[in-house]
Subunit: 379 residues, 2 copies
């Protein structure tokens, strides 16, 4: 029987699984939100992934269910388990990518370094935390945030009065404001059997809360930093029994230590470089992992890879409009488009350059992205 993977969600992550699935001879089926989703080519159903009936119908005849996003409610995931569908990552693991308070509790219990944090249900509790942590904190809604949404840096509880009201008594997460020198991400893939494979730790640069540039490996990370990042990712993957790709976003603080910021249990923007820069890219690896197949070699193909996101900007037209200029100027840069309309600020594609000279590689990737969207690298 042909191996069949069902993906819930039709965004660019599902889209980027299509190529590797075709190459491996694995059938990919996508439950998409809309007819014109980024992964429409592989969509076998369009429907609401918060409906158990829809998801159960979609999951018939697949070997495993996995995800383009983390927004499938736990009761829906539990319903899949009840009828015997393999779900990877499992709901119990995925919960830690869905609820930031649960994640903070569990990472603290595992001894993983995290910023000082508290679950606060009232302005008074938040005020206590802020006073104890230098008068400033990062407040996050426990669920539903992404790309900078659901995150506010505050110095007074009144700045999140609306969130407290919306939370109606349930807690918000507050974390100490961490003075960091840079952000890193460690991606790991793990099979149900326990086998794991790690790409090198990468440096991520954000613009307006959105990942903009990824450098792989992170410069100056071949010693203790790389070892510590890998150890943290292994501890989390094993401790939470994660299957598939896990992305651990971290701060490297001004004193050099690492603190875990966020988790994602799926291929992640910080791993897009691996499609072109590693022997096994994150989308192929995710498919192998959730199918419990042996993992591929995650080694880089070249000393350096730099990935730059392309965001929709004020210009009209199609993503490919600038291809004549772009492809002529950068014949060795790999260009990815997500098949999306160019709504301002939306991630619509990315480019990756690889090579042995980091400065040149970064220049090529930035130059290529700039042609596609001059707004993407500002701010």
């Amino acid at each position: 029987m042909t191996l069949r993977v069902g993906v819930i969600g039709g965004g660019q992550l599902a889209r980027m699984m299509i190529g590797p699935a075709v190459e491996l001879g694995v059938e990919l089926r996508v439950l998409a939100e809309a007819e014109d989703s980024s992964a429409a080519l592989a969509a076998t159903m369009v429907g609401d992934s918060t409906s158990a009936a829809t998801v159960l119908a979609f999951a018939k005849d697949v070997d495993v269910i996995t995800f383009d996003h983390e927004h499938v409610p736990q009761p829906v995931l539990e319903a899949l388990l009840e009828v015997g569908v393999a779900v990877r990552p499992a709901p119990a693991a995925l919960l830690h990518a869905q609820d930031k308070i649960v994640m903070r509790q569990r990472l603290t219990a595992l001894g993983v370094p995290v910023p000082a944090w508290a679950a606060v249900s009232t302005a008074a509790e938040l005020a206590v935390f802020l006073e104890a942590n230098g008068g400033r904190g990062v407040v996050k809604t426990p669920r539903g945030g992404y790309d900078g949404k659901g995150v506010r840096v505050v110095s007074d509880p009144s700045e999140v009065a609306d969130w407290f009201e919306a939370a109606a008594g349930s807690a918000l997460l507050v974390e100490a404001f961490v003075p960091y020198q840079r952000e890193l991400a460690q991606l790991i893939a793990r099979r149900p059997s326990g086998e794991a494979a790690l790409w090198p730790v990468v440096e991520t640069e954000q613009r307006g809360g959105v990942c903009a540039i990824v450098t792989a490996p992170a410069p100056d990370s071949d010693g203790a930093v790389a070892a510590q990042a890998a150890e943290i990712a292994r501890t989390i993957a094993e401790g939470l029994d994660v299957t598939g790709v896990l992305a651990v976003e971290m701060f490297q603080t001004t004193d050099g230590s690492l603190l875990v910021n966020e988790l994602a249990m799926r291929p992640h923007n910080s791993g897009h470089w691996s499609m072109d820069g590693a022997i096994t890219g994150q989308f192929e690896q995710h498919l192998r992992a959730v199918l419990d197949l042996p993992l591929g070699d995650p080694s880089p193909r070249e000393p350096w890879s730099v990935m730059v996101n392309v965001l929709g900007g004020p210009s009209e037209g199609d993503y490919t409009d600038h291809y004549p200029e772009l492809l002529a100027a950068y014949p060795d840069v790999k260009v990815h488009g997500y098949g999306k309309s160019l709504r301002p600020g939306r991630k619509v594609g990315h480019v990756t350059a690889v090579g042995s000279d980091l400065a040149q590689v970064a220049d090529r990737a930035r130059g290529a992205a700039r042609i596609l969207n001059s707004a993407a690298l500002e701010g």
Copy 2:
């Protein structure tokens, strides 16, 4: 507007365009022979590519029509041109890949080295040719042959009496039997604007008339051989005004010279290595070329690439059945499956290894292919 490429034919070549099309954000539409074709994922129509009405309906709203195979009749292609559809390669070029006598005539006129040949319509004419060429020749049906079909080595006209009868007075092609040391293939991509890009010349090894192993670049080919192969491919691509990928299959004779054997005007088995072994693989390059976009860098990523085909064998089951053993043993080998049932002798997939030590690379590729099908490397 999204760029749209229509591919006539739903075999593995169309299938292998899917990944690059998804990556580039180009829409691929396939006219497939059957519901369960190898490229079914991208099929927007199932129908008969020898029917002008079918092909015209399929070609609506695409920017360009290209091909998975060379079997679309000229009148159908001309009908496309008449309604203003871009066809690449154009029918006038494609004719040379459809009719071996036309090809031999044109290559001879271009001064491209080819084996001695003749168009023969009778046993008597064939006898004259054989007597003039050492008593042995290679007879080919001008149209429809592939993978060793439609080719016979003969020393007496009676050995192709059935073909003369079937030809009903039209000519067969006969070529001198060439004592060659090895077979080479030079692939080139060319845009309508004239820009061309060449991958390194490769060595191909056949088993039973079917491509079995490709080594890129061809060993001992960095000097005059590479230059001559490139010059031949450029001469043909320009002389015939080929657009898209052109594969030129050649003999390197025992005295070292090159003679052109066959042409294919589409991505070709001898170029599969480039998917994993070159910066720009042949399927991405073909899409760029037929869309008249600037071509990508065809340089190898590693000093050596070896591709081994996997053929269906006597065993039942699915292509992926041996993945647990295969992927564990060869974590760095890239594995491709074509989504086909394992009919004996059928090309059902391939594997590619890359690296800096040719012997090791070849061992890994052969070892991986052997796990998938022990029959593939015999004979």
